[in-house]
């Protein structure tokens, strides 16, 4: 069973004024089949955790370990991490002019699966996945994220999640900027993947809204660059009622 283990992770970014530590000792274990919600106020380091796990060059790991089934993730390049089974659904997916969605998806699936998917089954697979996400077929001919609405971008991210079938899915504020219909569609996509039992999900969010659709097994409160409290789904209800204030006061530095 796939397991992502994060131990005492410290991460910094370089700014004009020097190096700033953002993650200050994160400990977390995510197993296949589990869903962990990471909740926290703006600026707490949630997205830094997501991007650091995916290997974004902006972030420098200064301490700690991350392993996937015992393999050192931090030693891997960005593409190696993806091929090892780490998937990051981005909050702000990037436009790639001149590259069609269908070309992008196929290139990506080929890289992840280690061989080009058979064309006939692939076309069917993509078509069905798009239908489930209520995406128009013409979407496949558009350029990656170019001129996509906020909702289209997020559906496109979840489409990739469904097609690439990672071991560990990190969803970085997938709910932000979505209206209720789009949130429902995107959430049901995530739930389909979860129901396979083959993915460990790290759901990063600011709001409790998405947790009405995606039920977490564990909820962690993130503040000041580390997990400050962990609990079950009931912790989200507490946050809904009380907000983050009690955590931010203590963590402010």
């Amino acid at each position: 069973m796939a397991t992502l283990e994060i131990h005492d992770l410290h991460v910094s970014v370089e700014t004009e004024t020097g190096s700033t530590e953002i993650l200050r000792g994160v400990d977390l274990t995510v197993k296949q089949g589990e869903t962990h919600a990471i909740m926290g106020p703006n600026g707490s380091g949630k997205s830094t955790l997501a991007y650091s796990l995916a290997g974004h060059p902006k972030y420098t790991v200064t301490g700690g370990t991350v392993t996937l089934d015992g393999e050192d993730v931090l030693e891997m390049s960005v593409d190696e991490r993806a091929r090892a089974g780490v998937f990051l659904a981005m909050q702000y997916p990037v436009e790639v002019p001149g590259v069609s969605v269908s070309n992008f998806l196929r290139t990506s699936a080929t890289a992840i699966r280690g061989e080009a998917p058979r064309l006939r089954t692939w076309v069917k697979e993509v078509k069905e996945a798009m239908e489930r996400l209520e995406m128009d077929p013409s979407f496949a001919d558009r350029n990656v994220n170019e001129g996509f609405s906020g909702g289209e971008k997020k559906r496109h991210e979840i489409l990739q999640l469904e097609l690439l079938r990672p071991k560990i899915a990190i969803l970085d504020e997938t709910d932000s900027g979505l209206d209720i219909d789009a949130l429902r569609i995107v959430s049901s996509g995530v739930n389909r993947v979860r129901e396979t039992g083959e993915v460990g999900t790290l759901l990063i969010t600011h709001y409790t809204r998405i947790l009405r659709y995606i039920k977490p097994d564990h909820v962690h409160v993130f503040a000041g660059g580390r997990i400050v409290e962990s609990g079950g789904a009931e912790l989200a209800d507490k946050l809904e009622a009380e907000g983050y204030e009690q955590y931010t006061k203590g963590a402010a530095s």
């Binding site: 995916a54 593409d79 091929r83 790639v96 002019p97 001149g98 590259v99 990506s108 992840i112």
Partner: protein, 387 residues
């Protein structure tokens, strides 16, 4: 990609100049009418004169050879004519010293003619392969009224060349011309292309520049009557040590004509230099004009530099539309990250992005083997950049 004014530090910002027809001397066929440029003239300020191997100062004399191959479908004629032939110079006059030098250095011109009403089943292909030394040339493509033709001009090998090429496009004719500059990295090529678009005629030009030490192509379009249409596309891939310069002028001198310019370039290597000048003049009589020009540059490595200068001079307000856009951006790390985060290796990700950048222009070519060669060439250039 960022807008024209937010270019990165490796990139020179676009400079606007108010005078479109900015040359240091009036157009002339006589080289003696042009002073030897010193490099600060508007039309020469971006060009490394010291690398022109004497084309600009009269020290380059014709001593080289060029292997010429022409293949053309039946009906197309080729003849060599004296410079007194009425077709010579009809599409335009040399506007700089090198073009005038080229004209002053030839005694004959080659005329390739497509007869009136002919619809060519195959492209006309003219291949020039430089075999060293200095060469000059004057070639005229005379496309008869209502004819339809595709021309592919191919430049390979090594040469120091000054040339004038004219395209006389008859009324109602349709011409597609692809000019590929795939010279050896030692070659110098300075050429003026004059295009005269007939009444209701349409021209599509695709200029593709990969090779050479210095390549400077100067396409100039004017209209012989109303209703003409010119689409001018260009692609360049400028490597370490290369200077690629494309200077365009569209002279809207007749009413109800259209022009659309789109040039895209990628640069890699610290000393790669590209220049794009896009001049459009809309004269007082050119009412109903519709024109747009665009230049995009993708800087793949630090140090590479582009000068992108769009210019629009309008003498009448009664037009359909006129606009331009220029943007130069770095290869975006965020694009690379996004693709790599989907398992795509860095090398393949770069290839996807660059191919994507050029895709819309490559599709415009419409000549299958040229498109394929271009894509293969792009792959090779990219493979080099990754190595």
């Amino acid at each position: 990609m960022p807008g024209a004014d937010s270019a990165g530090e490796a990139v020179a910002a676009a400079v606007e100049s108010s005078v479109v027809t900015r040359t240091s001397a009036p157009p002339s066929f006589d080289v003696a009418d042009f002073p030897v440029p010193h490099g600060r003239e508007e039309e020469w300020r971006f060009t490394p004169l010291d690398r022109l191997r004497g084309l600009h100062d009269g020290t380059a004399t014709a001593n080289g050879s060029m292997k010429v191959e022409l293949s053309a479908p039946e009906g197309v004629t080729v003849e060599t004519v004296g410079l007194d032939d009425p077709r010579v110079g009809r599409a335009g006059t040399p506007v700089d010293r090198v073009a005038a030098q080229a004209f002053s250095s030839v005694e004959k011109a080659t005329v390739v003619a497509v007869p009136r009403d002919a619809v060519l089943p195959e492209p006309v292909r003219l291949s020039l392969h430089g075999e060293g030394g200095v060469t000059f040339g004057h070639t005229i493509f005379d496309i008869g009224a209502f004819a339809e033709a595709v021309l592919v001009l191919d430049h390979t090998g090594d040469t120091v060349r000054g040339a004038n090429v004219e395209f006389l496009v008859g009324d109602g004719a349709k011409l597609t011309v692809v000019s590929v500059q795939d010279w050896d990295d030692t070659a110098v090529h300075v050429t003026q292309h004059n295009v005269l678009v007939g009444r209701d005629a349409s021209v599509k030009s695709i200029v593709v520049t990969f090779g050479g030490d210095v390549v400077r192509v100067h396409p100039r379009v004017s209209y012989a009557g109303p209703g003409g249409e010119a689409e001018l596309y260009g692609l360049y891939f400028t490597d370490e040590g290369q200077h690629h310069e494309h200077r365009l002028l569209v002279d809207h001198n007749a009413p109800n004509c259209r022009s659309n310019v789109a040039y895209k370039g990628a640069l890699q290597g610290e000393t790669a230099r590209a220049v794009w000048i896009g001049d459009v003049v809309i004269r007082a009589q050119a009412t109903g004009t519709d024109t747009y020009e665009l230049n995009r540059n993708l800087v793949l490595t630090d140090g590479a530099r582009v000068h992108s200068v769009p210019n629009l001079e309008i003498e009448t307000g009664e037009i359909q539309g006129a606009g331009h856009a220029s943007a130069t951006g770095r290869f975006e790390d965020e694009q690379l990250f996004y693709l790599m985060a989907r398992g795509i290796p860095a090398e393949e990700a770069r290839r996807l992005v660059v191919r994507g950048f050029f895709a819309e222009l490559v599709q415009q070519i419409g000549v299958k083997d040229v498109e394929e060669r271009l894509l293969a060439k792009l792959e090779a250039e990219l493979a080099e950049s990754i190595a």
